[in-house]
Symmetry: C2
Subunit: 426 residues, 2 copies
């Protein structure tokens, strides 16, 4: 079968947030798109499967981007001299409004999807815009790419410029329900996800009605939380009855529990918010580069990891500029070192193991059994050739050292092959 | 003549730390390796010069790396889980000791020089090791590359492992003088620079004798300053008579004034140190990525820039992992935003203009009239092709926006041509 084969190479994945498992010259078995595990010696029962020898290359789980805005890819690495709320108003909303024009959306989303396909990421949770047609087009492109993604038509019914605002809660819900009815179950690898932009742009009534949709269609949900001090202050004014920002989502029933939820950022989350996220199994999408570029701050993510919260990494393009979750890993380590030095010496810097875990198994868990090579996991793998020009050294490196250099130095040239759910897409 | 020609393209350079000059479809004239300036229309007197049309590409001044360790390039992006002093002991010193072996040095320095040549940098101030032969070999390679560099044989006569320590001040001085006599005036583009590693590894007597060498040969000088709190504490113990770290250099006469000096880092410099640097015209090599990777902190560089200090950027490989000074520019902006948010809201974040200035004219000034296209400046230019895959967007960008994206997104694939002192080397 096409989706059953054996990969040979230097295999590395996370056992847990603190431990890598490394098998040199090992065998990784894929059967019907699922992993059968890693083997030092290929078991006899798999000897009839096609063997693809990746030789000295590294075979890693595909990376998961837990938070990215597809329509913002066009202006990545531009105009980052503003804080969040001004940046949304000045740069983001005008660009997102263009996606009402399907021709523009086709062009821009094609570039985005092509580049995502070439990245080391195999999964992503994606914000689109408020526009149904453009969002459906993006989903079609992503489906064709072979990547596995969750894509959200965004909800915004207040505090948004007229050109990018759904007239009222009813309009927003009607559009969203129409979009859901046209996309749920329509793709093999592409799923809708409920996507209220964030509390400031979603009225209480909209949130209440979104909860009904969430129940009706049994949907996961993604949004933003506690990114910037001004945003947090605004939310406390908009929702005087909420004890903290996350409580505003929680009061609508959209904060984990029976609603599988990702909250991006959590830079300034108070302790009660962190505790509730842990209790409700809310995933944190840690977006270190974006939090730096928009002057938001540094999320104390090593502390949350120690507390057992579910954490993955997000590129947050276009708050962040790079798609590769390898870059998010090194950014996360770097930010954690500054946090330790400048803010709190009890928050120990993230290790390579921590960062690699978050970018693979940590974020992958939002998709189910994803991000490891243990038996029963969906088979997403990225094969890295680090023998190329941009990696040259005189040193003999062990596998962990090679992984470290990949995290800091690799780009799309180093990606030799990519498998998603057992299908080779690169 | 070979070194006289005209470049046509979109030309951009810094007028001052806060202002870019941008000439679209302009003409940049090089005569005998020096700039004759930028022109909207090519003056008649240059009409007989060879014209190279770089079309829509950007033509920028070559970048200057004010601080980099050539022997550390081999272990870039490795083992960055330690602070400065432990990192030196565990990772750096054992690797630098290998350069006693000239075969190893030849291999490693060849990789370093090849990669530096492919980078957007045209100038660099480089630390080698304590070894004369390897350092001379590095200088020969750099000379062959066409880059313009200052290279330092390092001095270390105390607090260093036996395998990487010059026996006493006399040995260190004798070796250094021998190396100087063999390299001064021997190259067209490669110059020796006095390089006491830092106060902890250089005895008072060594520093005193280095000052004699500095005067005798009229040498510039480079070292490290106020990088890490433990280092600073150690220096205060080693030099109880110095009022602050920089004063220890100053007491030896090696802190600017008649000795053209670069001090790398200055993360924790007290006000008196900053004031003395300004007074003495000491250059700061700001190394944001290294200061992050080694958990040193963030240098308040926008404040120093406002005070009129001379500041350039350093990759500080292998504290930093990337050679490109474009990366140092974006790292500097990012670090300054976190400093503003987390430490001091009166220290305004660096702008694109600030960062580009530091990476071109700011650091270039250490080499003389370098880093701008004004008439009389040495002609270093890098031509960037941002029409490639890794830059794609649906937006129509102006030149400043294209520059911003180059700073955040470019890699060696975007370098279309490189001129140093009027010679095309790429």
């Amino acid at each position: 079968m096409n989706n059953s084969f054996v990969l040979k190479g230097n295999i590395c994945h996370s056992k847990n947030p603190n431990t890598l498992e490394i098998i040199e010259n090992g065998f990784l078995v894929c059967e019907d798109g699922f992993s059968k595990g890693i083997f030092f010696k290929l078991p006899e029962i798999y000897s009839n499967l096609r063997l693809i020898d990746h030789k000295q290359n590294l075979i890693l789980p595909g990376l998961t981007d837990l938070h990215i805005h597809a329509p913002q890819y066009s202006f990545r690495a531009l105009s980052m001299d503003l804080e969040l709320l001004d940046w949304l108003e000045t740069n983001t909303f005008p660009e997102e409004a263009k996606y009402q024009n399907i021709d523009y959306a086709e062009k821009a989303y094609s570039i985005f999807t092509d580049d995502l396909k070439k990245s080391p990421n195999t999964r992503a949770c994606i914000f689109a815009t408020i526009h149904n047609e453009a969002t459906k087009y993006l989903m079609k492109l992503l489906e064709d790419s072979g990547l596995v993604t969750m894509v959200g038509k965004v909800n915004m019914d207040r505090n948004s410029p007229e050109y990018l605002c759904e007239k009222n809660p009813e309009t927003s819900i009607n559009h969203t329900e129409k979009w859901l009815s046209e996309t749920i179950g329509k793709f093999k690898n592409t799923y809708p996800i409920l996507t209220p932009r964030f509390i400031p742009t979603c009225s209480d009534e909209l949130m209440k009605n979104l909860k009904d949709l969430q129940i009706k269609f049994d949907l996961p949900m993604q949004s933003h939380l506690s990114e910037n001090p001004s945003e947090i202050k605004w939310v406390s004014e908009l929702c005087p009855k909420s004890a903290f920002y996350g409580d505003a989502y929680n009061q609508a029933g959209l904060f984990g529990g029976d609603c599988k939820t990702i909250m991006a950022h959590c830079v300034w989350s108070p302790e009660e918010e962190i505790d509730l996220m842990r209790k409700n199994g809310v995933f944190i999408a840690h977006c270190p580069q974006s939090n730096t570029n928009l002057s938001s701050g540094i999320a104390p993510v090593s502390k949350s990891l120690d507390k057992g919260l579910k954490i993955g990494l997000g590129s947050d393009v276009a708050g962040g500029s790079q798609l590769s979750v390898f870059r998010a890993m090194s950014d996360a380590i770097q930010a954690s070192k500054l946090y330790w030095r400048l803010i709190d010496e009890s928050a120990k810097p993230l290790t390579i193991e921590n960062a690699f875990y978050m970018g693979t198994a940590g974020g992958g868990e939002f998709f189910g059994k994803v991000g490891k090579f243990d038996e029963g996991y969906e088979f997403d793998a990225v094969v890295i050739d680090d023998s190329l020009e941009n990696m040259r050294t005189t040193l003999d490196l062990n596998i962990k050292q090679r992984l470290e250099r990949i995290i800091y130095l690799s780009d799309d040239r180093n990606i030799n092959a990519k498998y998603v759910r057992g299908a080779r897409i690169l």
